[in-house]
Subunit: 389 residues, 2 copies
């Protein structure tokens, strides 16, 4: 284990009907007027957004709305939100949705109280120290942003997608988690969410740090729970218990507990971000394609933790590390395919991937050599992209 | 899963030399004068206490001391601390030690700002809503109080030992965790700490709530990590990595993550509290004796989760639940014995246990029928105590 400092102050309010508590939780943030940030209308159609607005209003907090946030959210909506907040004297943000709504709300929250361009934080030329308070009503278990201090935004001008990580400034004050609101999600979105949360765990699991038994076991346990619960949740969208277990696992996957005491990896996310930026694919589906390819490369170059993953998470019994690793990857791919997820470029809908462009963008954005578990050059990441063909 | 609301706002600062950061962390609590609560001088002898006092002083915060807190801490020292804080205008508490120092500091923190008798909170006749801020420098991984909102105090007049659980009031603002300060702990104390943290996980693991796959897997993972790391830490007290993994597991064992979404049990703790109260044994050693007996009773009366524990944590392969449960219990006892822990009254140093007295006290203090996993009458708890003979 390496040294760490870790704090996760978000209050998780979990269960049936908990969105009724949003008003009280919002008022407890000490705010007078909030901007409610949401996506493309499914929360409105289901009645959830109206219940949330009513609950906040009943608690004596005024509301404004910013709606229609796209998947892979972009900087233009952030600027728009900052402008609204400044003009209207908004002092808090409530996101109703998944990662896109939450990450947009977070970016606005940090940008409103900053004199410069909010994008400075994402480029790393400024460090975010403060932000307006943010609360979350989660509708899609996937991004884990409801419990993290992170926010991923894409700059529209060059489709540069950057993940900002803050220690405390962007951690939500509360996250309201009602598994019932996920019953109506399309199956592909549920499956992509599962791949996304698994990736959040695996990015932390694949570490160069030795001797992380405690964090390893927590990560392996969460992966196992997600894999065990996935078939029931795909078979019956209204199966409360499997939805609940997956929702909670998605939060723990990304609130930092799986990273305590170790260096993390994140190359698979970086590689997927370029695919999303160029081809506009669903993030989780992209990750289901990248991760097995990345693992296959590692089976050749640094197999021990891939083998440990195979044995402890995928129940592989092979003694040889390389053999165990390959069998584990094969089972992981089969699992993704069982959920209807792609594991090749073609299945992802990309018939002719421009691997040159992906590699060029990746290393331009992230550096010549990248990765925590194993350091990858452009030749290496090209080899991994080619494993996805 | 059942509904829950969960928040763990403590900042964990983990690693070598982190006690140097206590001053800065204390000042960040916004306090001017703190009472530093500690035990019987080992922290002073090792130089740790002086380093902590120097760090706090250098940060511009004045210090007073309350020393000599006993294991199984008692109300008299709490009253003494409350009196000091009121007289001297203390506005924060820093505990340097294990559960006894921390729980005493917490009780003082709640008592100072309350007009009545602090014991009201423990008896349940008042609900603690606020307390002075508490920071922790942990020296003994065991009680998990550094990350919990709980405090266990014994009333000296009748040796009534009560665990107070608060949602937020008593959660420490920070916990400084340096595995190196545990190198000099006596082996029996290390072993007892391991039994204590395992019990914190198992009290939550043995639940009547079905469908807790995510929380189950986290709990099982933590238990497995502790069991795997224990031999190395007993063999070499200066093995940083095993001490680090066990220390971190001890915090996660009791910060609530293993209880999310389910009813907990806690009968083994209640049964041990009476043994501690009457015979003054070490809490963790008492738990190593009670838990296998409790599980043996459950193998007869409600085996499923004992069997799951046996298979997933103790690697038992038996198909029959009863058979698996018994084999798991046998392996758990063997594990405790390998650490030098007692698993019978005699090994605990109690040649002639007064089981009548223990049963009478237990049900007088806790009610006629007790337990979350399985409801136990006085006849049942008597049978469990008898399994320890």
């Amino acid at each position: 284990m390496i040294d760490f400092s870790y704090c996760t102050p978000t209050r998780y309010v979990f269960g049936r009907g908990v969105e009724e508590k949003v008003g009280e939780l919002t008022a407890a943030m000490g705010v007078k007027k909030v901007l409610v940030v949401s996506g493309h209308g499914s929360a409105r159609r289901s009645g959830l957004l109206d219940r949330v607005l009513a609950s906040i209003g009943a608690a004596g907090v005024a509301t404004l709305e910013l709606t229609g946030i796209d998947p892979n959210p972009t900087d233009d909506r952030v600027y728009e939100g900052i402008e609204i907040c400044r003009r209207e004297g908004v002092d808090g943000l409530i996101a109703v949705g998944g990662g896109s709504a939450i990450d947009t709300a977070k970016a606005i929250a940090g940008g409103v109280v900053y004199d410069g361009d909010f994008w400075d934080f994402y480029e790393g030329t400024a460090v975010m120290q403060k932000a307006l308070p943010v609360g979350v009503v989660l509708t899609i278990p996937a991004a884990g942003s409801e419990g993290s201090g992170n926010s991923v935004i894409t700059r529209k001008s060059d489709m540069k997608k950057i993940s900002l990580r803050t220690d405390m400034a962007l951690r939500p004050r509360f996250a309201v988690l009602n598994p019932e609101v996920t019953f109506t999600l399309p199956p592909f979105q549920v499956a992509s969410g599962i791949a996304d949360m698994m990736a959040h765990i695996m990015e932390r699991y694949f570490t160069p740090t030795d001797d992380c038994a405690t964090t390893d076991r927590v990560a392996e346990g969460l992966l196992k729970a997600i894999i065990d619960e996935a078939p029931a949740t795909m078979a019956d969208p209204t199966d409360y218990q499997s939805r609940a277990n997956i929702m909670w696992a998605g939060t723990l996957a990304h609130n930092g507990v799986c990273g305590c005491g170790r260096v993390e990896d994140w190359v698979s996310h970086f590689m997927e971000h370029e695919i999303s930026a160029v081809y506009g694919v669903t993030h989780g589906a992209g990750l289901a394609t990248v991760f097995p390819a990345w693992m296959t490369f590692m089976a050749e170059h640094k197999p021990p933790r891939v083998a440990q993953f195979a044995r402890r998470v995928m129940d592989v019994t092979a003694v040889d590390d390389y053999e165990a690793a390959l069998e584990g990857i094969s089972r992981l791919k089969a699992f993704y395919k069982s959920l209807g997820l792609p594991v090749t470029f073609a299945e992802l809908g990309i018939a002719h991937p421009d691997i040159d462009l992906l590699v060029e963008r990746l290393h331009r954005n992230k550096g010549a050599v990248i990765g925590g578990y194993y350091r990858l050059s452009a030749d290496d990441t090209r080899a991994i992209y080619e494993l996805m063909v």
